[in-house]
């Protein structure tokens, strides 16, 4: 593993941590609501929830602006919101409404807002890596210091395109950041049964600096992401971050139906990871450090709850797409 050589960054300010805390909480409450609504039969399709991984998306995207691009995967609600995507537009998209961010054409696995640098969630595992490599190439030619981030999982690390992108981005010194969220499962297969060696070591083979980080520790993710983004902005090329985390929900909310009782992980494991909940850890630290009072956090909780309720109501009140829309949008 090639270490990152940048000096340690000064810690995030209290106000910045509070912004990230609120965003993590928004993602969690949105996902919890979607999970509950799915179980109640109120959603039209299964959803892949980001619960448990919030610190990765938020800790990375906190360093990004509108001119920076991200590409995401099937578990993309969290990345969308972390990059500043609109929660109403996302909720309406998941409910297949015309007010959705993709007008109801993409749905839960494909939320995208190109105007905000969100190239989109992606139903093809590893599908976003090549897209973001191209965005990074374009940015390198434009020379404005913008960067591109590919979010993918341990499952995508075994796709050939990840190696192709490591090779080319290293060779061309592209402003690209590989963020591998290692949540220990490729769909329903434990990663140690399908992934050989350490994922981060793939980067070293191409001379790309790689770093492993506790993906449930917001401070740690924020710091390594900051170093990677700085490297990319200053023309030093790509960085590979392997963030260890865990999906607290299953692979997809529909799984209890089709797995028919088949088990692929233990409840002890889920409980152990719940102890490392990134949002609770962040809240405890904020209070311990005197950066926020319990009352402040309760106020944020209320504000987020209202935002989620508003987004759901907006989605429910919105109309579905008109029939004519089925034949639109194929060509510019």
């Amino acid at each position: 593993m090639t270490p990152l050589h940048h000096a340690t960054m000064p810690p995030a300010s209290a106000s910045e941590i509070l912004v990230m805390y609120e965003r993590m909480l928004l993602i969690r409450r949105v996902e919890e609501r979607l999970g509950a609504d799915f179980k109640a039969g109120h959603l039209i399709a299964g959803v892949h929830l980001y619960s448990g991984q919030e610190a990765v998306g938020v800790g990375v995207c906190q360093h990004l602006g509108t001119d920076d691009w991200i590409a995401s995967n099937h578990r993309g609600h969290g990345h969308f919101l972390a990059k500043g995507g609109d929660v109403r537009a996302m909720m309406a998209e998941i409910h297949a409404k015309v007010t959705g961010v993709c007008r109801g054409m993409g749905g839960t696995m494909h939320v995208a807002d190109l105007g905000k640098g969100i190239l989109g969630a992606n139903g093809i595992v590893g599908g976003g890596i090549s897209l973001i490599c191209g965005a990074a190439f374009s940015q390198s030619l434009q020379g404005r210091g913008s960067v591109s981030v590919a979010f993918f999982g341990d499952g995508a690390s075994t796709q050939g395109v990840m190696s192709e992108a490591l090779n080319l981005s290293a060779l061309w010194k592209l402003p690209m950041i590989f963020v591998c969220e290692n949540n220990l499962f490729s769909e329903f297969s434990r990663s140690d049964t399908v992934v050989a060696g350490r994922i981060v070591d793939r980067a070293a083979a191409y001379g790309v600096p790689g770093v492993q980080v506790d993906g449930n520790d917001l401070d740690a993710v924020w710091e390594v992401a900051g170093q990677a983004v700085r490297r990319a902005r200053t023309g030093d090329g790509p960085t590979f971050i392997e963030a260890f985390t865990y999906r607290m929900a299953g692979h997809v909310e529909a799984e209890t139906g089709f797995l028919q009782g088949a088990q692929y992980r233990s409840s002890d494991e889920v409980t152990a990871w719940a102890e490392r909940d990134p949002i609770r850890r962040c809240a405890e630290r904020l209070v311990q450090r005197g950066q926020a009072s319990p009352e402040q956090l309760a106020f944020i909780e209320e504000r987020v709850a209202a935002q989620v309720a508003d987004a759901v109501q907006f989605a429910l009140d919105s109309p579905p797409p008109s029939p004519e829309q089925a034949l639109k949008f194929m060509f510019a």
């Binding site: 054409m105 190109l114 093809i124 090549s130 897209l131 191209g134 591109s148 192709e164 080319l168």
Partner: protein, 326 residues
Amino acid sequence: MTKRRLIQAINDALVEEMTRDERVILFGEDVEISLFGDTRGLAQRFGPARIRNTPICEALITGMALGAAAAGHRVVAHMMFANFTYTGFDSIANQASKLRYMTGGQARLPVTYVAAYGGGRSIAAHHSDTPYPLLMNLGGIRIAVPSTPEDAKGLMKACIRSDSPSFFLEAGGRGGEMGEVPEGDFVTPWGQAAVRRTGGDVTLVAIGSMVKLAMAAADVLCNEHGIHAEVIDPRTLVPLDEACILTSVEKTGRLVLVDESRDRCSAASHIAAIVSDKAFSWLRAPIKRVTVPDVAMPYAPNLERLVMPSVERIVGTVKSLSDKRL
């Protein structure tokens, strides 16, 4: 008008478009030296910020083209041989053809995939495929298949100026063919077929390099059999100029399609379906397809000649219709 080889006409279009719009960039395997000559000299002229050799990594190239386009460039991704697009097909089938639709019309993706297609050179099945039927079926890809230097230039410009992903398919090994090319800037329109020869007895719709064979067959039919064939070159398969084909069939009542893709689900069978659907009452004979049988392209020259469409097969097919029905 000036005389240009087909491959020179493509090169001219690339030079003119890269000069006209600095957002146009081009990358692919060995594009700097250029195997076919279509990108030759561009590296010296425009430098590595505009044209660049990539590693051999088609799965990445096809997707990178889209990402760079979304971020503001107009991208020409050279795939070399059409078979190599299969290695990169995920981003073509799952992303290029669908991203605009899936994002509710957000994505603007000015990407031109360039590839050489077709058989006839004994380079066997991994370098001889004709992939436009697959591409046509994807829905969101525009497809240009020029048969002349003029259209090669005009269609390359149309592809580069398109905000939707497009394929520019150049007939492999036929870049040396000469033709007249108009002076100055011109763009060949999408979905507008060219009638290469008029005639009242039978309509020949020939795609890409098959136009040359169809024209030769039309000569033979006229000179030796007194049959007057109308030859239509669709020029673009998506969008397809259905009106031009239907108008011709209304006049001739007979249709023979010449297509060097494999017969099953070919462009020819698609056009045949359209015509039987929309012009059945005008037909005086069954629609016939001169295509490649459903085999991989053989290496042995005698076998390759056997499976590729030929002037003899076109003439024989037309005569089989005419003998019974004229």
